[in-house]
């Protein structure tokens, strides 16, 4: 009996892990537009990127302002590989990263080790 319970609970737990970490798709937020016509979003870096999905329009300059609020060195750099930009994030500083998205699509950004991830959805 207890074997059945453990197996069922185990399978359920695995299902939960798969759903929670892999299957769930974040909604994301749209970047605001400044008076200068720049699409701007403020991203807090703490164990991850909040928000971690930023929606922007193609062809318009984008400014992502990162603010790292932890001492963990894992997140000290953010790399936007697809746009060829990266930035060091001193703890507490607002660090703007600017680029112009070309083609619509989903572009990942991550810490240097690829553990923390976010994406820019260009439409």
């Amino acid at each position: 009996m207890d074997v059945v319970i453990v197996v069922l609970a185990g399978v359920a737990l695995i299902g939960l892990i798969v759903w929670y970490f892999w299957l769930w798709k974040p909604g994301g937020v749209s970047a605001g537009i400044t008076s200068g016509g720049i699409q701007e979003a403020f991203i807090v870096v703490k164990g991850g990127y909040s928000p971690d999905t930023i929606r922007v329009e193609a062809g318009r300059p984008v400014r992502l302002v990162f603010n790292r609020q932890e001492a963990d060195p894992c997140s000290e750099k953010v790399v936007l590989d697809a746009f060829g930009v990266s930035a060091d994030l001193p703890e507490g500083d607002n660090v703007p990263v600017e680029f112009i998205p070309g083609q619509p699509g989903e572009y990942e950004f991550a810490c240097q080790m690829g553990m923390l991830r976010g994406k820019v959805v260009v439409s």
Partner: protein, 832 residues
């Protein structure tokens, strides 16, 4: 009030806090008299109350205060007459990141403030002002609801470094505490092993174990707190990392032990009532120690960049109004005359106007031999003046200096990803949840199929799986090696623009060299003086050079330069006439001197028949020969050619030794091209290639299946550099075309190509070692931890050993990357 209504409408529609611009909902704080306006926090409400007009105006006008230029914030233009200065303030009272925005806005709206940056963690504000008293700034911050005071002295340049050291020390303290607790816990955990421990099942031992439960609680709560906060932060982002695994592992061990101790009835079999407080304490201690060591090792990976930053001079000695004054480096402007004494650092880039010296440029170009500088020579900021005193005019200052550009480039390159890492990244995204699933499967397998006591084995093996898995080793493998490799390149005068370039460079099998300026110096110099009559070699050269002093043709300059180099000072000719495309005629010391080709000699009545054979030989060698006639008779021949750089032969020899095919590309005629190729030992020559066809030639080579590196000066060869798999731009002195090419060789020497390829090979080898190590560790470690060896050998891995292995696997990866710091170009190694 009209303005308020507008704001209210806007605020209601946008649902944003007017102070920090954060989105606020129905539960936002409000302020009497400002209906419809919501605030995210008490701070924002207080800031708004302090200066509602300002926030209203800012919102109503639609202007984003962050984007305001100095002009619209009321600040005067910075520049001549207005000295912008930076004031550092210590700010207290900030509770959230939105406070940063609030304070920055308050500062930027103050007239005279050019820029303001607030650092939440350091609790500091850096304000750039144009003649604004400090009191005005502190008042502005206080009006926004915070406290501020001025910080004396320079801002802490190494704040990041200091933060790292703080974190390192904190982790060491956490380790010390956990280790201290671990010692008695280990002792009392094994009554079968150690003497003097009450019997298992006795009340005395239960009491001791109870004390251990309490003692290990602060180990979890303090020493291991970062695992829990890190895991929770990641969990909220639907991701998991090393913290997640460690946090689950150590808390599972603690929880199981405590349940077994407090509620023995839940665990019927007495054998199962064991405790694992040792796992909690020891694993925490080891992983914390591992993190501390990793931080220390990682700091070393960026040492090369720090060294470059440290090269910058702090002050400069300028001549202003005829007086020598020492000023901070930031105050040096283009056009300033800078004085440099022997032994001093050259503060910025410039051009020597007077004096002469030898300058050690090794820190920027990698060239170990000091370079002679005299009037007109370019000097590079951050290099060291060795012997003489000189003055130079500043040509590039601030972020335009070569050093600043190099620093930016190195930093960008270190932040880029190598293609190999993109694969690793994909794996990393699935790694931790996969380990969690394996842990669950392990638990299930041991519970269902394992020997008795099954529950005990299931818990132990699941915890061991969680603890041994090391995503960090995998994640750190590539970037740390890349950081060190790119830094090493910069030290050797090789600027690698991206991880892509670094990775591709190790696969290069063909190097295409542009002839002019790459293999050769790019300017003609005197090569031969042939005596054909009664005059001596010196006389011929003296007359030819004197005749050419008035000439502005590069060939003429080469003859004059060649004569001077041989100690002959040309004299002014009395009469000078140039016939473009043919030659010149001049009167030197009363003699009629003609210089030119065969036709010109015939025109001027100089019989030059016997010279034809010599002319052909010189031409075969790719040289340009000119006949010299004196008083109507042939005196001799002078020849000039674009000569090869002194180290070209050696460098091409090294490329061959590395197994590379070397190809030369040139617009010159076949004869000249082959003459140069013979001199330096080049295998293949593409001559008479039009500039626009260079890229096509590269394409043809690539069609042969070759991985091609194109080496050029970066200006004329841009399309070919772009077409090549790796484009290498040669710098010459200060004119470094950094924008073109994937790799810039600061010192315009071919040996840099060899060094770049060697470095790429060494770095990629290091990356592979790291990746293979990290993958092997995890793919072997996890199954062993899950107990795969148990059915065959009866061996089970202790979670304590798993913790130790995990803690040191990432340290090992970073230390291996740091081994690259000892890498040196083969050329340097041989010289040493």
């Amino acid at each position: 009030m009209e303005r308020v209504n507008q704001l209210t409408e806007q605020g209601a529609v946008a649902g944003r806090d007017p102070v920090c611009d954060m989105t606020v909902g129905a539960n936002a704080l409000t302020l009497d008299g400002f209906s419809g306006v919501g605030f995210c926090s008490e701070h924002c409400r207080r800031a708004f109350r302090a200066a509602p007009d300002w926030y209203l105006e800012g919102t109503v006008g639609g202007a984003d205060p962050v984007d305001r230029t100095p002009a619209d914030t009321g600040g005067g233009p910075s520049g001549i007459g207005h000295q912008a200065e930076t004031i550092n303030l210590s700010v207290s009272g900030m509770s959230c990141a939105s406070c940063v925005v609030t304070i920055e806005r308050a500062l930027k709206s103050t007239p005279g403030v050019l820029d303001a940056q607030v650092n939440f963690a350091a609790e500091e504000a850096k304000v750039e002002v144009d003649a604004v008293p400090v009191e005005v700034l502190t008042a502005a911050i206080e009006a926004a609801g915070y406290q501020a005071r001025v910080i004396d002295g320079q801002p802490d340049e190494d704040a990041e470094q200091a933060a790292r050291i703080r974190l390192y020390r904190k982790l060491l303290r956490k380790f010390a505490f956990a280790a201290l607790v671990a010692l008695p816990v280990i002792y009392f955990s094994y009554p079968e092993l150690f003497p003097g421990i009450p019997e298992k099942g006795s009340t005395a031992l239960d009491l001791i174990w109870g004390a251990m439960a309490l003692l290990t609680l602060p180990v979890l709560a303090w020493s291991g707190s970062q695992f829990f906060t890190g895991a929770w932060a990641a969990f909220k982002h639907r991701s998991a990392n090393m913290n997640t695994l460690v946090a689950i592992g150590i808390s599972a061990a603690w929880l199981y032990s405590t349940v077994a101790l407090l509620f023995p009835s839940l665990i019927p079999e007495e054998r199962l009532r064991d405790v694992f407080y040792d796992v909690t304490a020891v694993v925490t201690a080891l992983v914390v120690l591992g993190s501390a060591l990793e931080i220390k090792a990682r700091a070393r990976t960026s040492e090369a960049l720090k060294k470059l930053i440290g090269l910058q001079a702090k002050t400069a000695r300028l001549i202003r109004n005829g007086v020598e004054v020492e000023v901070p480096i930031e105050d040096v402007m283009v056009g300033d005359i800078v004085v440099v004494r022997p032994g001093e650092k050259i503060p910025v880039d410039g051009e020597v106007v007077s004096g002469a010296s030898a300058v050690d440029e090794s820190m920027v170009t990698g060239e170990p031999i000091p370079v002679e500088k005299r009037q007109g020579a370019p000097v590079i900021g951050a290099t060291i003046n060795k012997t003489g005193l000189f003055r130079f005019r500043a040509t590039r200052v601030g972020r335009d200096t070569m050093l600043s550009q190099i620093i930016r480039m190195v930093r960008d390159a270190q932040g880029s990803k190598a293609p190999i890492q993109r694969t690793v990244d994909k794996v990393a995204g699935y790694f931790v949840p996969s380990v969690m699933i394996i842990a669950v499967l392990t638990f299930m397998a041991w519970y269902v199929f394992g020997p008795a006591p099954a529950l005990l084995y299931a818990v132990i093996t699941a915890v061991t799986v969680l603890v041994i898995a090391c995503p960090c080793a995998l994640g750190l493998a590539t970037p740390t090696s890349l950081m060190v490799g790119i830094g090493k390149g910069a030290e050797a005068g090789i600027l690698i623009k991206s991880g892509d370039a670094l990775e591709t460079a190790h696969r290069i099998d063909t190097v295409v060299l542009d002839k002019t300026g790459t293999v050769t110096r790019g300017e003609p110099s005197l090569t031969d003086v042939v005596v054909m009559g009664t005059f001596s070699e010196t006389d011929i050269l003296a007359m030819a050079a004197s005749a050419e002093t008035g000439s502005e043709h590069p060939l003429g300059e080469a003859i004059v330069g060649g004569a001077r180099a041989r100690g002959i000072e040309p004299v002014e000719p009395d009469h000078f006439e140039a016939v473009p495309g043919h030659g010149i005629e001049a009167t030197v010391d009363g003699r009629r001197v003609v210089l030119g080709n065969l036709k010109f000699m015939a025109d001027r009545g100089v019989a030059a028949g016997p010279a034809e054979e010599v002319l052909e030989r010189l031409s075969d060698d790719g040289k340009t020969a000119m006949l010299v006639g004196v008083d109507g008779r042939l005196a001799g021949i002078v020849a000039v050619a674009d000569t090869t750089k002194p180290d070209s032969v050696a460098a091409i020899g090294r490329m061959h030794a590395l197994g590379l095919e070397v190809v030369m590309l040139t617009g010159d005629n076949v004869r000249t091209a082959q003459a140069i190729a013979r001199q330096v030992g080049i295998d293949r020559v593409f001559a008479e290639v039009l500039p626009e066809d260079k890229a096509t030639q590269i394409k043809l080579l690539q069609a042969e299946g070759k991985i091609v590196a194109m080496v050029g000066d970066g200006i004329n060869d841009a399309p070919a550099l772009a077409q090549a798999d790796v484009g290498m731009a040669m710098g010459t002195g200060t004119d470094v075309a950094m924008e073109t090419g994937d790799v810039t060789l600061v010192k315009g020497s071919l040996t840099g190509i060899v060094t770049a390829i060697e470095l790429s090979k060494a770095t990629i080898r290091n990356v592979r070692q790291n990746l293979v190590g990290a993958f092997a560790y995890n793919t072997l470690g996890i199954p062993v931890a899950a107990g795969m060896l148990y059915p065959f050998f009866g061996v089970l891995l202790s979670p304590l050993i798993a913790g130790a292995a995990m803690a040191f696997s990432s340290v090992t990866v970073v230390s291996n990357a740091n081994r690259l710091r000892r890498w040196r170009p083969s050329l340097v190694k041989e010289a040493a």
